[in-house]
């Protein structure tokens, strides 16, 4: 089938603002949007810039705004879009560096702010810090996050707020707060409870819809809110 791929392109050295470019190409229904981007880059315009690495939905580098929703280009089939006009934009709310490549630093800064590592000052036991299957299951969903930023950059509050740490950072905080081996809740509280913390979430659910790992993002955010509110910290 013939598809039209529209890409919001931006070259900081030449363009004042991003503009749409259209590319016509032959595609199979089972092609991924990532394949189409490659075809454009390899056969039509080598200057097209985008990020990808694994090509299998696990490295989290190719989140893009595809036909109005945040998705991973490597996990989105042409067939599933149900149209032969495909529009690809960079994810929103982060500065665009070139074409589909954005500056991820604000995203990772928020990630680091919640201290996404195990905090436990007790001397490690001889073998391991034991945990029951139930205790492990408590934070299982958050462990699936690939830090693609599809959630954070789909959030209307993140687009306009400027200080909100965003859903991904809260998911990461949840991963450790609800880990029975972790004792760092008190250290994370100042960030999570600050004006840029969890309370900026207004439950618009775009994050949950966007997450390519099917993490119930809003559910996790609400659990963190309740943990703060009911003094589980």
């Amino acid at each position: 089938m013939q598809v039209t791929l529209k890409i919001l392109r931006y070259n900081p050295e030449k363009d004042l603002r991003p503009h749409w470019e259209s590319y016509k190409l032959e595609a199979e229904p089972m092609d991924r949007v990532l394949d189409l981007l490659h075809k454009v880059k390899w056969e039509q315009d080598g200057t097209l810039a985008f990020r990808k690495s694994c090509g299998h939905g696990i490295c989290g580098s190719d989140a893009m705004l595809i036909n109005g929703r945040n998705r991973l280009a490597c996990k989105t089939l042409v067939r599933d879009l149900g149209t032969d006009v495909i529009e690809v934009e960079p994810i929103r709310g982060l500065p665009v560096e070139k074409d589909l490549v954005v500056d991820m630093e604000p995203f990772f800064k928020a990630y680091r702010a919640v201290k996404p590592w195990l905090i436990n000052d007790d001397p490690p036991p001889q073998r391991e810090r034991l945990q029951s299957p139930e205790e492990r299951a408590r934070f299982d969903e958050g462990t699936k996050c690939i830090l693609c930023a599809a959630c954070t950059t789909s959030c209307p509050v993140f687009w306009v707020n400027g200080t909100y740490i965003g859903p991904a950072a809260v998911v990461q905080a949840h991963r450790f707060i609800f880990d029975s081996r972790d004792q760092g809740a008190h250290e994370r509280f100042p960030v999570l409870g600050s004006t840029g913390g969890v309370w900026r979430c207004r439950t618009a659910y775009n994050c949950t819809e966007a997450c390519p790992r099917e993490i119930p993002v809003t559910q996790l955010i609400q659990e963190v809110k309740r943990a703060i509110m009911f003094g589980e910290f």
Binding site: G68, R69, S154, P156, R202, T203, A204, Y205, N206, T218
Partner: protein
């Protein structure tokens, strides 16, 4: 426009209705405080507000307040129960069912007053 689903529209509508209600409240406070200048001013203002444009505005405000109130209940359920988030979409449809049941009789009654001239 980002193609969000029910949750996104519930949120936008909640915001817009919230701001509109706040604006109305401020206008209302100004209206009431015009009585400071004496009964002539106050009565003149109230007479001016008989205009159906204000009546329609009032119906609009009522429509927004009702949405804000019902969706507010949905938000309370999402914030304070473990299952609210899971059923947020169904809850939103529930909001609209209640909206029609409560709102329509209310709006029609109000419109009757605005245009029927009933006091």
């Amino acid at each position: 426009m980002y193609r969000g689903r029910e949750g996104q529209w519930a949120f936008y509508l909640h915001r817009i209705s919230g701001v509109a209600v706040l604006l109305f409240l401020m206008l209302h406070v100004l209206e009431m405080s015009s009585s400071m200048f004496g009964p002539e001013w106050f009565n003149a203002l109230l007479a001016f507000e008989r205009n159906p444009v204000f009546g329609l505005g009032l119906v609009l405000v009522a429509a927004l307040v009702l949405y804000h109130a019902l969706n507010g209940l949905r938000i309370i359920l999402m914030d304070f129960t473990s299952w609210g988030v899971r059923y947020q979409r169904q809850l939103w449809y529930g909001v609209w069912v209640l909206y029609v049941l409560i709102g329509f009789p209310m709006f029609f009654t109000m419109l009757g007053y605005v245009f029927g001239g009933g006091e």
